[in-house]
């Protein structure tokens, strides 16, 4: 039996525990139970939700088939707006992914123990978001079955190498590396928990599946020693990786000579925006998961409040970047640059610009107030408006810069087609479907890591108890 330590109420007030559970076994039970129940007995509302999201994912399949059949002319992209919803959605989804890596890697290096309750689901979110992101450039190529041309594979039908002077090929390397490393990191973290599920398996099928997936993990001290080192190195290399990925995405724009794109502020500004939107998305998903799966003792209000603080910080950085862009546009004395920015705020796309500003700059400022940071309905709404705002940010950057060309003769106004809309909505369906399946069939909280935190907290409280006496 594990020892239940009486916790000092006064201390709980100042520094509430991150994990509330009486024993390690209780944690195992609680988290594994979500994945273990009889599939048939899963609540009907789960299947209904999954039915809806997977139908929307099916819509994606229809849209993409239609696109491949007819060519990318079915999207609204046309001169002068050659990049529109597709690249907006690509940057949007990649950005969402960044919070997962930030939580799993950067917060790990900073020894933020509160990350353990949320890192698994955030990492899963990263992987699914990058999958959704990859769809857009892949299909924008027009011939996705030639995608291997993007990689330096010697082949006889291309007979030329990739152009490594182009940021677009950098992007290929960045996004693929990011996806691969995130998946490896996620699986590494999963193995000890898969072993837990294997050891609890009551059916032959589960024993086989989790036995194979857990690779024979037995929690040996030697295993843990190598595992912890591996985790540390993966965190250490993922940290610069996550910063590089969105920096390289921003190079796609920044290395061009389009007014509004050609700015050196883009890499940090994109990274901050990515973390901002990603945290908002983690928050949206976790508020729902916490509520439907009764995870209040593991994902406490403190976890949510911490995420809100990060949203406040990154949202303010994004707001500052908008201001800097405007200042530099004026200070540069470049008439095209000035025109672009005035046109953004007061031109035909002003509605998009002001949606972006109100969602990204103004609304996160509410989080200065503790009451708002700790109000679940409030943060839920704010997390959604943040993602709307961040989608519009990419739309504003891409479309407003392109729709006014250097030659007034080629000015235009971009409107999405129903295929544009259907494809984007479809990726949301795909993302939610994958997340729902993950939440149902894999441990969505890192069991072994949370146990480590619980053991530590027991220590801490025990220590205080002794001192008090």
């Amino acid at each position: 039996m594990s020892v239940v330590v009486e916790q000092n109420p006064a201390l709980m007030e100042v520094n509430p525990p991150l994990v509330r559970a009486n024993s390690h076994h209780e944690l195992t039970e609680q988290i594994s139970a979500i994945t273990e129940g009889d599939v048939v007995k899963t609540p009907m509302k789960y299947w209904i939700t999954l039915g809806i999201t997977s139908s929307i994912a099916g819509l994606l399949l229809v849209m993409l088939t239609f696109l491949v059949w007819n060519g990318i002319g079915v999207w609204g992209n046309n001169r002068p707006v050659g990049w529109a919803w597709d690249i907006t959605n690509f940057v949007f989804w990649i950005g969402i992914g960044h919070a997962g890596t930030l939580i799993s890697a950067v917060l790990f290096l900073f020894r933020q123990k509160w990350r353990t309750s949320i890192n698994r689901s955030a990492e899963a979110m990263t992987i699914f978001a990058v999958m959704c992101a990859g769809i857009f450039p892949l299909f924008h190529t027009g011939r996705p079955w030639r995608a291997y041309w993007l990689f330096p594979i010697p082949n006889t039908d291309l007979n030329i190498w990739q152009n490594f002077r182009s940021p677009l090929i950098w992007d290929v390397f960045a996004v693929n590396t990011y996806f691969t490393v995130s998946a490896l990191f996620w699986f590494t973290g999963l193995v000890p928990d898969l072993a837990t599920l294997r050891d609890r398996a009551t059916t032959k099928v589960r024993q086989w599946i989790f036995g194979a997936l857990s690779l024979g993990w037995r929690g040996s001290a030697r295993h843990w020693s190598n595992y912890e080192k591996a985790y540390l190195i993966l965190a250490a290399i993922s940290t610069p990786l996550v910063l590089s990925v969105h920096s390289i995405v921003s190079f796609d724009f920044a290395t061009s000579v389009i007014p509004g794109w050609h700015t050196t502020i883009f890499p940090p500004y994109f990274v901050a925006g990515a973390i901002f939107s990603g945290f908002a998305c983690v928050l949206t998903l976790l508020v729902i998961a916490r509520w439907t799966l009764n995870l209040d003792n593991l994902i406490t209000i403190k976890h949510l409040e911490n995420m809100n603080k990060i949203i406040l910080v990154t949202g303010s950085i994004v707001g500052y970047a908008y201001a800097t862009e405007f200042f530099i546009a004026w200070y540069s004395g470049n008439p095209y640059e000035r025109f672009t920015f005035i046109n953004r705020a007061f031109g035909p796309y002003a509605w998009a610009y002001w949606t972006m500003v109100s969602c990204n700059v103004i609304s996160p400022q509410f989080f200065w107030v503790k009451k708002f940071r700790r109000s679940i309905p409030f943060m839920f709404i704010l997390s959604i408006t943040t993602n709307i705002g961040m989608w519009f940010e990419r739309f504003v950057i891409i479309v407003t810069s392109l729709h006014r060309d250097f030659l007034p003769g080629s000015w235009g106004y971009f409107k999405p087609t129903w295929v544009d809309i259907g494809t984007f909505v479809g990726t949301i369906g795909l993302f939610l479907t994958l997340f729902l399946l993950f939440a149902r069939f894999l441990p969505m909280i890192a069991i072994s890591e949370v146990k480590g935190v619980l053991a530590n907290e027991k220590h801490a409280f025990k220590g205080e108890e002794v001192l008090a006496k």
Binding site: M1, S2, V3, S23, H24, H25, T28, P152, I160, W161, Q162, N163, F164, R165, S166, P167, W170, F173, A174, T177, T180, V181, L184, F187, T188, P192, A195, T196, D199, R200, L215, G216, W217, R218, G219, S220, A221, R222, H223, W224, S225, N226, Y227, K229, A230, I233, L234, I237, P240, L241, S244, I248, F251, I447, S448, E449, K451, G452, A455, N456
Partner: protein
């Protein structure tokens, strides 16, 4: 060639007559560390522990050497960087030189992003596969799974293992030693 299952088992060190080690159970991580330290002081050298999460201080207590993973990975990182630079130089300046946008055929500055990504990619693969290789995984079977509490080592139990390869190991004495440091459910497991 006749494949006799008994002979194969014998060669693999499996079977009821092959003792693999003695395992005892603890319910708290602190107890495991304290007991491990005492057992090590008795002169045992081939010790291991099984726990649901990494127990702080256990490596020192039972003499697990620090992981060598980092030293292995650094070479793969260097290889990744080299691969990136050589690839970009060779395809751009040697194998198929094409001037695009007046840019040089090879330059260090524009090679940075791809070189960096390949460095990270190679390191990540090295970490991932290296970790499993150092741990001897994947493994379909392990003798320690025979201990009645092995399935709880991924839940809430902390097991201390004395392996039979230890020169000081003796099935009866080692069991007594484990019991003397407070272990419950002490059992000898066979290969």
């Amino acid at each position: 060639m006749n494949l006799n299952p008994e002979e194969i088992k014998d060669k693999l060190g499996l079977g009821p007559d092959k003792v693999w080690g003695a395992i005892g159970e603890f319910s708290e991580p602190d107890e495991l560390v304290a007991a491990g330290r005492k057992i090590k002081e008795m002169g045992y050298t081939k010790l291991d522990a099984m726990s649901p999460f990494p127990v702080h201080g256990i490596d020192d207590a039972i003499g697990i050497p620090p992981s060598r993973l980092g030293w292995m990975v650094i070479w793969f990182s260097a290889l990744g960087a080299l691969t990136g630079l050589v690839l970009i130089w060779w395809v751009g300046a040697v194998n198929y030189p094409v001037v695009i946008g007046g840019k040089p055929l090879f330059d260090f500055t524009y090679s940075i992003p791809v070189t960096f990504e390949l460095t990270i990619l190679f390191s990540a693969f090295a970490v991932f596969f290296g970790m499993w290789a150092f741990n001897g995984l994947p493994q379909l079977y392990h003798p320690s799974f025979k201990h009645p509490s092995a399935y709880r080592a991924t839940d809430d139990r902390f097991l201390l293992v004395i392996e039979a390869t230890d020169p000081k190991f003796d099935p009866q004495q080692s069991v007594e030693h484990l019991k003397s440091v407070g272990a419950a459910m002490v059992e000898v497991v066979e290969g």
